[in-house]
Symmetry: C2
Subunit: 466 residues, 2 copies
């Protein structure tokens, strides 16, 4: 009943799209839900391969796997794009402990931050200074910090509806906390996990020492939110407690890895490129199902759905599965550099890197004219409960493609559960719902289809031949 | 940034609501997320009490618990409303087995449907007739059905976006399949679980024999979707296999139970009643967290949020926690009867009974005038990603209140995962995300606030005093 009513509304309000578009979108959704491959591919990536940190054997196995799967789709081209990536290895074991002045001990759920140096062989033990952020630490000055372990404990703001905003408001502690604390002479850094939930999982993620000399680089680790709450309370009654942690992570020389690229060449404008992608690498704690196995398989599925639905794209559509988003962005940079050096005209790029949850819409990094153009397609998505069309960020891997005239877009799934799993050992296949994943792939395919068919603002005046 | 932009837009487009409304909604959301009680209450209902089938001890423990919790909120009145409910008990054990003609056996994941009779003491064993629905069975006629076990295997349609539509398109097999098969002389009925996912959980649910004589009432049970797939395949190569099942469920005399009602009496129009509710009873297999522990605690939270936010309602707001939605709807009918006999004017009722998932909006059963009025409030919900405002059903428990002029509404959360858990042993607390639950409560509280403040179409011309 509802679908019929919508179809009538369509015929009255034709703008830049037509009845055939609504039929194409319907086909894409039905094919994804009834006959999708994304969940099957994710099962393999997650359960047969697992965590895929850049430079690891698993990352290379993932490259081989997705290349083979893309080759089965009958695309016009599948290739690898070589890229040198950092290789950081967590090491054999990690330990953490709160040692009260009264002799009590409590083991911590702890993990090294990605890129951190190791502790001394015997571990690191020191008193703790709790701060709510980098600014507060700087105000306290080097006297208060020197020789201490700085405990960054500002939680994600749980009243924000967009959880990525809450993450953005906290992640500086993880990313540059150790660098800033090192400058002040701290011995180490402990960060409250970037997690809106109180639980026992420590969440890793990238950190940087910037240009800091090697002797000022101090070890940094994350502890679970439950442990952060405990430590903070304990410090109030036992401010002289010691915190001990031990990790033997290690940075190696860069190694060769690959972006994986598949293409359907456009029938009318083969030199206009549209790309859809996610990142193949993941952190090492879980199996990287949501971050970003989901984006990888959804992007592959976009090309499969388009072929399966009998759509022959006017423009060239590429799936790009980027290596090294998590701790370097080398894959994204490499792809953009090569596109630029070859003079390839990219008109559109879409990334899925916010988890495999129910899709709500997209955010767009583009001109006002292009955004207005895209908003005209919004009614086509209504039957699928896709309503969020806003200007905003897109995705880290496609960011380097930014230039005048290109439309960058990011899939925006429901974000409420994302940070329960992000960069933690519970980012696993069982946390992904098949339908939610498939709806995301169909949502992406529909936008790709519409951009292909109707073009962006700069490329829109070219008539449709069929 | 986004919020500020929205606030500006608000001031330009003032219609039946004002800036103070957007502030009130913001307060309700922030209070629910930062300082909510719903998750705590659900933890108790699910983990300390558990499944709450009508007539069970757990159901009575739930009545006592929520009454006590409501009394702590400082409402103007908390009371029990007596209602007689059916008492069906699953019994000590359930078994099912496929017995191939070659002697192979496979155990089935099986559960009795709610209200079913038991099998004979030794169990029931018979050949199987697989059908895609009741119509197909009727076409086959009594000769084909007599003495057989009818296997209803029409799956939920996985291409439908609204999963409740897929449920509605299948559930006749579970609800009246055994009655119709009994009329044709079948020995028993097996139903494919109402589940969009392939897994091993059997899903129970209500069934009826209507006015069928006792000797035609045949036992009925559900098997998991994986087992349904297996059985269907097996029947193709071994059509003469036997299916065996055994269950000793039992129907007892009706027993007394209760709806639990709490009220904040309106300051201006105490005789205009608005209600918000969910159902206290659940099926017995899981702990009823999504169905409908979530709706119960969200409804309680609505009244708590309103009090905590310092809102003094103009109209009387009641939370009604209904007994016996699952297998009788006695609580909903009783509440409506008493409201009618007392001449209480109900202007609005909102039910949450679609799971504790991220809220997407509401469906409304009301006049076109009331719906148009409500649509004016839709922009107030945009910052919270609440976009779904459509005419449609509301909730089973509030259905009996339907009369001219009343606005009935149902919370519509994301429905993609709902039927993974519905009526099965995995409808448990761990499947509920705290933020998703809390966002639902805030969404409900915001609508209740707006209806209270601005009235429905029939009650809207009364000026606001403050």
């Amino acid at each position: 009943m509802r679908l019929q009513g919508f179809a009538c509304a369509l015929m009255i309000t034709l703008t830049t799209w037509g009845q055939s578009d609504s039929e194409a979108v319907k086909t894409l959704f039905e094919t994804s839900l009834a006959d999708g491959m994304s969940y099957h591919w994710l099962d393999h990536l997650s359960n047969q391969i697992g965590g895929r940190l850049s430079g690891s054997e698993n990352a290379e196995r993932a490259v081989v796997y997705v290349k083979n799967e893309l080759e089965k789709l009958g695309l016009d081209e599948v290739r690898l794009q070589s890229v040198m990536v950092p290789k950081w290895v967590r090491g054999s074991s990690e330990k953490g402990e709160i040692r009260g002045t009264d002799g009590t001990k409590r083991l911590l759920n702890i993990c090294a931050l990605g890129g951190s140096v190791a502790t001394p062989d015997a571990g690191l033990s020191a008193r703790v200074v709790e701060v709510q952020g980098i600014d507060q630490m700087k105000e306290m000055g080097p006297e208060a910090i020197k020789g201490k372990i700085v405990f960054f404990n500002r939680p994600m703001e749980n009243t924000l509806i967009h959880t990525f905003e809450a993450y953005g408001g906290c992640v500086d502690q993880r990313h540059t906390g150790a660098m800033e604390a090192g400058i002040l002479g701290a011995a180490g850094v402990i960060v409250r996990s970037m997690n809106l939930r109180l639980d026992d999982y420590p969440h890793t993620g990238s950190m940087t020492y910037g240009e800091l000399p090697v002797d000022q680089r101090i070890p940094s680790a994350a502890i679970s939110t439950n442990d952060a709450e405990f430590l903070s309370k304990k410090l109030k009654t036992d401010p002289d407690l010691d915190l001990f942690f031990w990790q033997n992570c290690q940075q190696f020389e860069d190694v060769e890895s690959f972006n994986v690229i598949g293409e359907i060449t456009g029938t009318e404008f083969p030199n206009q490129y549209m790309i859809v992608g996610g990142h193949l690498d993941s952190w090492d704690l879980g199996d990287g199902s949501h971050d970003d196995g989901a984006g990888v398989v959804q992007s592959m599925e976009v090309l499969r759905l388009i072929k399966k639905s009998g759509i022959r794209p006017r423009r060239s559509i590429r799936v790009v599965l980027f290596m090294n988003e998590e701790n370097g962005l080398r894959g994204g940079r490499k792809y953009a550099e090569e596109a630029s050096s070859k003079g390839e005209k990219h008109i559109f790029a879409l990334e899925s890197d916010s988890g495999g949850f129910t899709p709500r819409g997209f955010s767009f990094d583009c001109s006002d004219e292009d955004f207005a153009r895209i908003l005209q397609w919004q009614p086509l998505f209504k039957p699928y409960l896709i309503h969020y069309f806003e200007k905003g960020g897109s995705g880290a891997d496609i960011g380097p493609l930014k230039s005048e005239g290109i439309v960058l877009a990011g899939l925006r799934p429901d974000s409420q559960r994302y940070f329960d799993h992000h960069h933690a050992s519970n980012d696993t296949f069982d946390a992904v719902n098949r339908r939610e994943l498939e709806l995301g792939a169909a949502t992406m395919a529909s936008l790709v289809y519409l951009v292909d068919r109707h073009g962006t603002n700069a490329t829109a005046n070219q008539p449709i031949k069929d």
